[in-house]
Each structure stands twice: as C-alpha cells, then as structure tokens.
C-alpha cells in the first residue's frame, strides 16, 4: 500500500478528462492505497455544492480524503459553508508535506 496525492488543477466544466482523474483516484483506492485528492486553481470549482460536486463526495465515501486549496477557494469566493459534503479546505502546504514524506504525487 502506498500513499498517493493526486492534484487536480482542472475542472469538469472545461475538461472532460477530470472524470478520468477522479476515476484514477478511485482505482488507486480499490488497489488498497491511501489517496488524497487535492483540488487547486479551477479544480476547486466543483467543490462548491452543485451538479458537479457529487463525484467528489462519492470519492470521500469510498475513502479518499478530498481537500481544496484554501487560497483558490478564497480567490473564487467559495466559502467553507458552500463546500460539498466531505470536502475540506486545506493550505497548499499539504502538498509539500506529501512530497517530503515520499508520497507519490501526481499533478493533473
């Protein structure tokens, strides 16, 4: 079992392949890995409760930690009370923590 940090900088409104990246997170969980999905830049847009957020909530129910960059949220006026179920705001420092601790870190 390995630790993975998947960084999603794209959003499903612009990019079809975001769903594939979420699916990759899901696949890594199925393989028994510990997976964090970190949303940054426009990647945080589906973190606001909307028709696009259920796939993220679903990932949290399958065992992924889903975090959203607090600066990207604030930059887009997304307050914590508007976040979809299961998604937590986080400082970007968490990415450097994962890098320092040897997680497999993948940017999309």
């Amino acid at each position: 079992m390995a630790k993975y940090l998947l960084i999603e900088s794209r959003d499903p409104f612009d990019s079809n392949d975001v769903a594939n990246f979420y699916e990759m997170a899901s696949g890594l969980i199925r393989e028994g890995n510990e997976v964090t999905l970190f949303l940054v830049q426009n990647g945080v847009l589906p973190a606001r409760r909307s028709g696009a957020s259920p796939p993220l909530t679903s990932l949290t129910r399958r065992g992924a930690e889903v975090l959203a960059d607090d600066f990207s949220l604030r930059e887009r006026g997304i307050t914590e009370d508007r976040l979809a179920e299961g998604i937590q705001p986080s400082a970007l420092d968490i990415v450097v923590d994962h890098l320092a601790n040897g997680s497999k870190v993948i940017w999309h």
């Binding site: 594939n20 990759m24 696949g27 890594l28 497999k104 993948i106």
Partner: protein
Amino acid sequence: MALKVLNIVESAYRATLEEQDDTILWTTTAMRGAGADVDVLLRGNAVNYGVRGQDASGLQFGERKQTHPPRLDNDVKRLIDKGAKVYVLTDDAADRGLEPTDLVDGLEPISRSNIGKLCADYDQIWHW
C-alpha cells in the same frame, strides 16, 4: 534502490510542428540515454501518437519549407526499440475510434481500470 518512473503523456500535438517532435517523448528518450529507468503511458489524445502512418510533411511558409516534420509514430517506436515500455490506454484509444491494428508494434495495451496496478510498479509518476 534505483529510481523507476512512469511518464504519463496526455497533452498531444501541442507545438509538435514547431518543435519537430513531442517534447516529452523527446525528453524521455534523452533521459533513457542518460541511463534513466523511465517508461511511458500514452493516455488522452496522446494515444494517437501510436498511430501508424502519421504524416506532417509539406508545411511551407512563403519560400521557407519545413524540412524535418515530426514523426511521432517513429518516435514512439524508437523508445520501444531502446527498451522502454510504452503503454497505451485502451479505453482512450477506443474512444477515439482506434483499432489495435492502427497502432505501431510493441505498444503495451492497458485498461483504465488497471492504471492503479501499473502505478504500483513505479516509484514516481510524472504526469505531463
């Protein structure tokens, strides 16, 4: 333990005409030349890099002709010939209407559901 990396190539045909190659396939080839243990997974639009018979020749601007257009299928083949494993994501290939016979020999097919297993074989995953 020697580092083992999987280069996932997704972005495709981005400035390949100006560069006369795909810069990630190029850098992978250069790194392998320097002794790197690095393999490639083609996903997204980059699955099309494996298609036989790509022809980007014939560009001319005024009197200035492009003399060395990109040969992406050849570049994929060169990596395979140099010992790299080059995987192609079958779901993305099928989505784009590709048949296995459209692709150069030596590509290793892998389904989206098996990416997690593939990642386990590598120390780091670099997604380009």
